[in-house]
């Protein structure tokens, strides 16, 4: 098959320009409504549960997982499905353990929850360090992925792609704040879900709309091995550790947690997780099917011929089924996806820098609204420029480990601190600070010493730390540190405030 991937594709440019035009118009509209910090960080708490659910799905479904899991299934078969499953299971956990307390206790960031009855300054500094670490590693993975994908799909130079993504995203976040970011996520989620559904329907028409027929074709063309579990889970401890990181890391991702403050109350927060789970579950159920279809219709040799990792399986399938225009559409959706995810990360980073560090540490909580918004916007620019520079700096690097690292840090640093501050009366300031720092830093160190980086990136023969994802060790360590340090530093003042925290946490009385 002759593919026009990587050449200048007018349909995809037109779709992309329409997307940019619509989202910039929304940004213009949002900018007029964005005056206070509540508007800037939390869209004035005016987002409905359903809208927030779609936006959460938009924040979470990245181009990497869309293109990556399609590619993995098309080349490796069943293993793509195991991977897809892991991406969903964090959402129910988020619902059961944190959704309502998070909404009731916080204002703009997860640090609000941890600092509720503990000492503001140390907690804010630790939370900002942990949060920024998570956001930076995630942004690196997204930006490098973005540059490579755009180069493959549009034929644009890598650096130009980085600068376009960075600048457009900055416009959304800088002028439109959370209102614009939310709508960018919603539009992107609809485009992505719609695009994949159309791909699924057209594709399945070749298989009588019967998955059994599709699996039969896969088995006949390749071998029955494609349908059976392969080499992904060779070491179960490794698989469980990765599973823990994916599941509980979600509960520590600042840009996801921040979305909970855009809805009016805990009931709406709950509703948004339900909708997010629905859309994300649907997405991860059909992505492997699209991958299998690509294997049969496009064939593995064509897919790996364009990109060894298989990332172009979905765009190639779209080209085969709907010609260049449809491929252009899917490519534009992937581009929009990257833009939206990076916008969410940048806004979360701005809130950590401006709300946690500037307002609550340097200004001790006292600053005018205008000043706070100004600092938030400056922080947005700082993080945005950092993202572009990191993207360019990491050009050509293998950053596949970055996503795993992001979830490992989030599961080991922010998550234990938030969870314990909600449920454990005797949790103390020193306990929380050491949990976040020890958890985050140990996750980073263990990943560097693990086979993922020590062997795959640094080309050493043997890894010092045996697991590919350290969460099972570093998260346990964080909880142990939290317990030991809290017991050693009793804090009667914080314990006394636990009662009023409980009233707000479980009943929502006094929630902002």
């Amino acid at each position: 098959m002759q593919s026009s991937l990587g050449q200048v594709n007018f349909t995809s440019i037109i779709f992309f320009l329409i997307f940019i035009a619509v989202t910039l118009y929304i940004t213009y509209w949002a900018a007029k409504k964005t005056k206070t910090t509540k508007d800037y960080y939390a869209a004035g708490r005016s987002v409905s549960g359903f809208q927030n659910g779609v936006a959460l799905a938009g924040d979470y479904m990245s181009a990497a997982s869309f293109l990556g899991i399609c590619g993995m299934t098309s080349l490796k078969g069943y293993d793509g499905m195991i991977y897809a499953c892991g991406w969903l299971v964090g959402w129910p956990a988020l619902m059961f353990l944190m959704a309502e307390p998070l909404r009731n206790l916080g204002k703009y960031t997860f640090a609000d929850v941890v600092a509720f009855r503990l000492k503001q300054k140390p907690i804010r500094i630790a939370a900002a360090i942990g949060g920024i670490l998570v956001l930076l590693t995630y942004a690196t993975a997204q930006m490098v992925g973005a540059g490579n994908l755009i180069k493959l799909m549009f034929g644009l130079p890598y650096e130009v792609a980085e600068i376009i993504v960075g600048c457009v995203m900055l416009v959304y976040v800088l002028f439109g704040g959370m209102i614009a970011t939310t709508w960018v996520q919603i539009i992107k989620a609809c485009l992505l879900l719609g695009g994949v559904t159309v791909l699924l329907l057209i594709g399945m028409s070749h298989f009588d709309f019967n998955p059994g027929v599709l699996y039969g074709e896969v088995q006949k063309m390749y071998s029955v091995k494609m349908l059976n579990p392969g080499g992904l889970v060779t070491n179960p401890i490794d698989a469980i550790s990765l599973g823990l990181a994916l599941m509980l890391g979600l509960l520590g991702l600042p840009h996801i947690l921040m979305r909970f403050y855009t809805v009016p109350d805990a009931k709406a927060a709950r509703k948004s997780v339900m909708w997010a789970t629905t859309f994300i579950g649907y997405f991860y159920c059909i992505i492997p099917i699209v991958g299998f279809m690509a294997a049969v219709l496009v064939t593995q040799s064509t897919i790996s011929g364009v990109d060894k990792g298989g990332n172009m399986a979905a765009p190639l399938l779209a080209e085969l089924l709907g010609g260049t225009p449809f491929m252009g559409f899917i490519a534009a959706v992937a581009f929009a996806t990257i833009l939206a995810v990076v916008s969410g990360l940048t806004l979360a980073a701005a809130s950590a820098l401006a709300h946690d560090l500037y307002l609550n540490v340097f200004k001790s909580g006292v600053a005018t609204e205008a000043e706070q918004v100004k600092v938030a916007k400056r922080s947005t620019i700082i993080f945005g420029i950092c993202a572009i520079l990191i993207g360019i700096l990491f050009k050509g690097q293998n950053v596949a480990y970055m996503v795993g690292l992001t979830f490992a840090i989030a599961a080991s640093g922010p998550f234990p601190a938030i969870f314990l501050s909600i449920v454990w009366k005797r949790f103390t300031t020193a306990g929380a600070v050491s949990t976040i720092i020890v958890g985050s830093v140990s996750a980073v160190i263990c990943i560097i010493l693990s086979p993922t980086v020590w062997v795959d990136v640094f080309k050493n023969k043997e890894a010092i730390f045996p697991l590919r994802n350290p969460a099972i060790v570093t998260m346990t360590l964080a909880f142990i540190v939290a317990y030991v340090v809290s017991i050693m530093t009793p804090d009667p003042e914080a314990e006394a405030k636990f009662e009023s925290e409980k009233v707000r946490c479980y009943l929502g009385v006094g929630a902002e």
């Binding site: 195991i82 992904l232 599973g243 009233v503």
Partner: protein, 99 residues
């Protein structure tokens, strides 16, 4: 007459509500863990079982993989039905007693 935060938190009703909430949350979380990590362990140790065909071409692996996602969704739905119909009602009544 309105009650203070202290009276609410120490009331049996509030304590029972919080206990009930965490019981429900923990049972659902345990089911989620059991299903997902159970699936991972079956993938690790039961490859032959997963390769067994159910239909002509579909095998247990595919069914369990999709089943894992569907089951997670069902657990989420159970929680929201419980929270809307039981938890919120209790919360409203407790809040009224505070006024």
């Amino acid at each position: 007459m309105g009650k203070t935060a202290h009276e609410i938190v120490t009331s049996d009703r509030f304590k029972a509500l919080v206990r009930k909430k965490w019981n429900v949350s923990m049972i659902l979380t345990a089911l989620l863990f059991a299903s997902y990590y159970g699936y991972i362990l079956v993938v690790a140790y039961g490859k032959e079982f997963l390769s067994t065909k159910v239909g002509e071409f579909t095998n247990w692996g595919i069914i369990l993989g999709v089943g894992c996602i569907v089951f997670a969704w069902i657990l989420t739905a159970i929680y929201i039905v419980w929270a809307n119909n039981v938890y919120d009602v209790e919360v409203d009544e407790l809040k009224k007693s505070m006024l």
